[in-house]
Symmetry: C2
Subunit: 402 residues, 2 copies
Amino acid sequence: MRQGSLRELNLALVLGRIAAAPSPPSRAALAAETGLTRATVSAVVEDLVAGRLVTEAEPTPRAGAGRPARGLVLAGDGPAGLGLEINVDYLAACVVDLAGAVRHHVVHRADLRPVSADDALGRLARLAAGARAIADEQGLTLAGAALGVPGLVDAAGQVRLAPNLGWRDVPVPELLAGHPPLTAAVDGVPALVVENEANLAALAELHAGAGPDNFLHVSGEVGIGAGIVLDGALYRGSRGWSGEIGHIPVRPDGPACRCGGRGCLERYAGQEAILSAAGLAGADLPADTAPTRLAQLAEAGEVTVLNALHEAGTALGVTAASVVNLLDLDTVVLGGGYAPLTPWLRPPMLAEIDRRVLTAAWSPVTVRPATLGATAAAVGAAGSVVRRIIARPAGWLARVGS
Amino acid sequence: MRQGSLRELNLALVLGRIAAAPSPPSRAALAAETGLTRATVSAVVEDLVAGRLVTEAEPTPRAGAGRPARGLVLAGDGPAGLGLEINVDYLAACVVDLAGAVRHHVVHRADLRPVSADDALGRLARLAAGARAIADEQGLTLAGAALGVPGLVDAAGQVRLAPNLGWRDVPVPELLAGHPPLTAAVDGVPALVVENEANLAALAELHAGAGPDNFLHVSGEVGIGAGIVLDGALYRGSRGWSGEIGHIPVRPDGPACRCGGRGCLERYAGQEAILSAAGLAGADLPADTAPTRLAQLAEAGEVTVLNALHEAGTALGVTAASVVNLLDLDTVVLGGGYAPLTPWLRPPMLAEIDRRVLTAAWSPVTVRPATLGATAAAVGAAGSVVRRIIARPAGWLARVGS
């Protein structure tokens, strides 16, 4: 093995252990865990500290004699990830540092349906430039960006279809290339990754650490998307187009859907369907306030709203039962606009799941709200950048000359 | 790294290359591919040959001067896998050698629904003992066994539920332990693995090499099971209970199913539903001849049969559309009793898929019959044993003293 790649492996090994450790590990503990010599660990840590990837934690007093243990933690003042999101009625940008802290977060509300893709991306670029300026002020270097969109994205980052935005074949990277670059060039970290927003929200939930290794994360917005986490990793599918749960038929002869099918879940549990069943179709609520409004009315015992949520929960339960029968998952996480509605969606969902899932008798399925709120996709996007650096720190160190 | 584990790794590396090579590789080619020295490759190959895992292929004349190249292939006279299957109306046993050849295959027809699990397993043990005797005669050593059952199997090999057999909480390994052992003790190869038969059939299809890396394999028997192959590996789920496609609701308010749900796929496309719709409910055809009979009648243009297959295909298509929307797969393989009915099931399936799958416009979904017929589960079971030996040859070599 070449010396260079051995160093790269050791850097990644040690940094990965520091990132995963439940409490700040000492150099000696890292040597014991990795099987590397203490001298090698010290040299590797020195490189990581010089590159602002790792720092010494505040010393904690140790029981007994001797110097306090000096644990190592991920640094919060080096590289950071830029997370972006375009959704039907808002844009968002956020900055997450290597230690996982959200250092900046901004949401810009605007109905993007009547706006051209070019115009929407221009607005996003301005929002991102603002986030970059703030990161600069804080001494952070944006190493890469990821953008969540509510649609199907191909390997080149082109949005093939985003039905609720009315986008078809939008070459996002090309359109954004007309704007000033947002991130530093780092080997191994793409300047921009475009990804389905439901996938990013599921990733955020996975790394928030609350969930099990296998779960379905359902994001309820104007459309309904899902991210599938299997064995602790996002399952993207052959082309990254997995999780189109909104177009799973609930009733094959049901009402026509804008996708061309009939009786899709979106027609029963999408935000517009719920608002319409709740008698709020004309209320013109922004998508992100609609769930709060629905929750308030349900809390107040408004019968039409309770019925609308019961119907939506039943449809979600039928679909969730299909997914659990197919994938043997034990947790369904309700994200996005569904999170605040969990108290009303969960009972009918569980009723359908208990009735339809073959294995529900031995292993009850958990339905719970997402840990992160509506910010999940942007935070997940920024986190995906940060994890790329942790997985391969050599690229970053080469850039900063360490 | 310890010397012992280095040898184990090299054995597995070289054997894996020989197994995967499109044509018999020479020692020199193996050295070039693996990065090992030619001396190491020669020593490793000597061990593999001595242990009857590898043999020299017939020399093929080379263009130009020099000795003909002596390629290496997997041996067909060493360890072998025993594959077993219990289904609703038959038992099967087969022996597959390391080179993948089916050396013995026997199917014993019997309706097992009125039979106790203990009795059924006793019959299976006798079938397996016969297969072992034949393997012995051929100079093969059975290194392990795998058993496919149409139900949910837990990690201990207990069948939690097999609805169509009427089994619940059947401790298969315990019941089989009362019979003489069937296989040799080999480190790293379990004496018996119990697995869902639809999963094994999907594995067989994967290793038959005809399919892509991601596909859904649907086995149509009395029940309907599915195996999901993602990224070239079987996806088993949290507890191995994935693929219960037969209980995905097609119409949530449809007819009651024996699982306790309503409108399950099995009620529309299970063998009994098809026979009943075809007016053959009382015909008392054995499950394995029913598909052939249906195909003959469809071929002859029998309208009730054509309509029954159209209805079943439509229900399969609605369900397949859900799976493709969820998992972004591009191939659905029709296995078991569905294979011979593919010409009639495929058109209505494709109609539903085209209408309901969001991405069908860019990437048409393929529906095709399985490569292996009704034998797929038993062959898949035996193959899973053989692949364990290939993945870790040191266990076998230790047993034979190489």
